[in-house]
């Protein structure tokens, strides 16, 4: 299936889903007024991919987010939930959650995700902001 690339804007993150390489990147900031409108097609596309993928190795997801508002929070969580369901069904998925070493909010959020989605391999990675 076709890769999904959406460039970053001031209010929305860059989406770089290279399905052909099984590499999924979400990076930047997320505070659109209507988060559902932004994330619904992304979620549909991810859902579709996870349903069909015949990846030999692991699917790798990378989240490097600096800021997201509360409505984006729910939708980012729902992307993770899709991967969790897929992992539970036997797919190999590794999810990286990057945060600056000094960013206690992002690190806490990553660890909360780990707690909540126990069947998904979530790695919370401290990475100095470039």
């Amino acid at each position: 299936m076709e890769n999904l690339y959406i460039p970053a804007t001031n209010e929305t993150p860059e989406i770089n889903f290279r399905f052909s390489e099984h590499q999924l990147h979400v990076s930047g900031e997320s505070y659109p007024e209507n988060a559902m409108a932004f994330y619904a097609p992304i979620r549909a596309s991810l859902h579709n991919y996870l349903d069909r993928t015949q990846a030999q190795g692991a699917v790798e997801a990378h989240f490097s987010l600096r800021y997201f508002n509360s409505s984006s929070t729910k939708l980012i969580r729902s992307l993770i939930a899709l991967m969790h369901d897929s992992a539970q069904a036997g797919k190999r998925i590794v999810t990286h959650w990057y945060h600056d070493p000094d960013d206690d909010m992002m690190s806490e959020f990553g660890n909360d995700l780990k707690d909540e989605f126990r069947m998904l391999d979530i790695r919370v990675v401290a990475l100095e902001t470039a």
Partner: protein, 416 residues
């Protein structure tokens, strides 16, 4: 004509708000295809400001003669002699922009843009059902757009300003009760966009008091709508459950929101292209303080409780439960846990919405964070609550720097 007069904010002179192309109409001489170029020449010479001269046949506009093109052509050797007595259509633009007088200014502006540089320079002909009326200029059109825009902004801002008056009067009883009940306290309520998605409720009872701080999804007008809805549900929940049981109150509000707003779970129905319905709710801290036995009972949705007892070395955080209130994914019978803590004399209690801890800033453009918040509280623990408020806001301002405010920022704190 649908024009009316309005005063602008900054000057006394009324500005004419024009909604349709008709309002831009300038009466203008015209010529016919039978008119020779010498007539055109005479008109341009007599009216040095005229940019384009319309050509009208049997009452219908058929073209526009541009002054510069015409004059340049006439200046060429022998052209004057050859063309002066011939029909003016030789130098006429046969496809000028012709706009009906009823066209809205917005539609007109798109047409002018489509027309490119020509319409910007030459202007356009205004017609009434194909009958020639006159001309309009791009400059007048731009002025009309600017005035319309300013007028719309003014209406929107007046409307939001008044919404803010309503929102603030709804919270006045809470502010007054706080002042009466709490000798040393502070309140921060800083909307990002005049009205806020954050709100609070304070009520004093014989045996203690109830403090609620909540952060609805969104900010600005939609966020403020949600705060009014949540306030109403909170009032009605307080009629049915006991005021000293935060867990019961938060559960009752959840049921009321979900029932009233139809926040049923359509996200997990298995379909990826679910309808785009409203799925709104809130983060919240509900807190009951029993004065007689000096205990605090807290139930929270995301929004944590921060405590600093007189003998504590660190600010303690009691995290709320992870479920938000009222969302589609939150079960109807969700239970938020009550946490009970003792309050030795001199204990400071704080509630913050995430607008504070999530604000971006600093050299790395990362979140303000809980750690920093706790450090500031600890550093100023001996100071009065209003002084602590000033210290927190100053630290936030400095950290934020030139970064825009991302969210509403609110806090309630008190020392008992």
């Amino acid at each position: 004509m649908d024009q009316h007069l309005l005063a602008t904010n900054d000057e006394a002179a009324p500005v004419r708000i024009i909604h349709h192309t008709e309002g831009l109409l300038l009466p203008c001489d015209s010529v016919t295809p039978a008119s020779p170029n010498k007539d055109v020449f005479a008109i341009f010479e007599a009216q040095p400001d005229m940019i384009g001269l319309p050509v009208v046949e049997n009452g219908q506009p058929i073209g526009l003669i541009n002054r510069n093109i015409f004059m340049q052509s006439m200046a060429r050797p022998f052209h004057r002699e050859v063309y002066l007595n011939k029909s003016c259509i030789a130098f006429m633009d046969k496809q000028p922009l012709i706009v009906d007088k009823k066209t809205s200014i917005q539609d007109l502006s798109f047409k002018v843009l489509e027309g490119g540089q020509k319409a910007m320079n030459d202007g356009f002909i205004i017609a009434d059902d194909d009958r020639y009326l006159g001309v309009g200029t791009a400059q007048d059109m731009l002025r009309a757009i600017a005035n319309l825009q300013a007028d719309k902004n003014r209406l929107v801002m007046e409307s939001i300003d008044y919404a803010s008056v309503i929102q603030q009067s709804l919270s006045r009883p809470s502010r007054e009760a706080m002042r009466k009940t709490l000798a040393d306290h502070f309140l921060i309520w800083e909307p990002r966009d005049i009205v806020s998605g954050d709100f609070y409720h304070f009520q004093d009872y014989e045996d203690g008091f109830l403090v609620v701080l909540f952060d609805c999804t969104g900010h600005g007008v939609p966020g403020a709508f949600m705060t009014l809805i949540m306030s109403a549900f909170l009032q009605s929940a307080l009629n049915t459950v006991s005021h000293d049981d935060p867990s019961a109150i938060i559960g009752a509000v959840n049921r009321l929101v979900k029932t009233a707003m139809g926040n049923i779970d359509h996200q997990h129905a298995g379909s990826a292209d679910e309808e785009e319905g409203a799925d709104d709710g809130m983060d919240a801290a509900f807190c009951w303080v029993d004065r007689r036995n000096r205990t605090l009972t807290y139930a929270g949705a995301h929004l944590p409780l921060l405590l600093l007892g007189p003998d504590d070395q660190e600010v303690r955080i009691v995290e709320g439960d992870r479920q938000g209130v009222g969302y589609a994914a939150t079960p109807m019978d969700q239970v938020w846990q009550n946490h009970e803590v003792a309050l030795p004399e001199g204990t400071c209690v704080y509630f913050f919405t995430d607008g504070l801890v999530d604000q971006l800033g600093g050299a790395k453009r990362i979140a303000f964070g809980k750690r920093r918040t706790r450090e500031i509280i600890l550093r100023h623990r001996r100071q009065t609550m209003p002084e602590q408020r000033a210290a927190l806001l100053a630290a936030l301002k400095e950290y934020q720097g030139t970064e825009p405010r991302k969210d509403d920022v609110s806090a309630i704190a008190f020392r008992l």
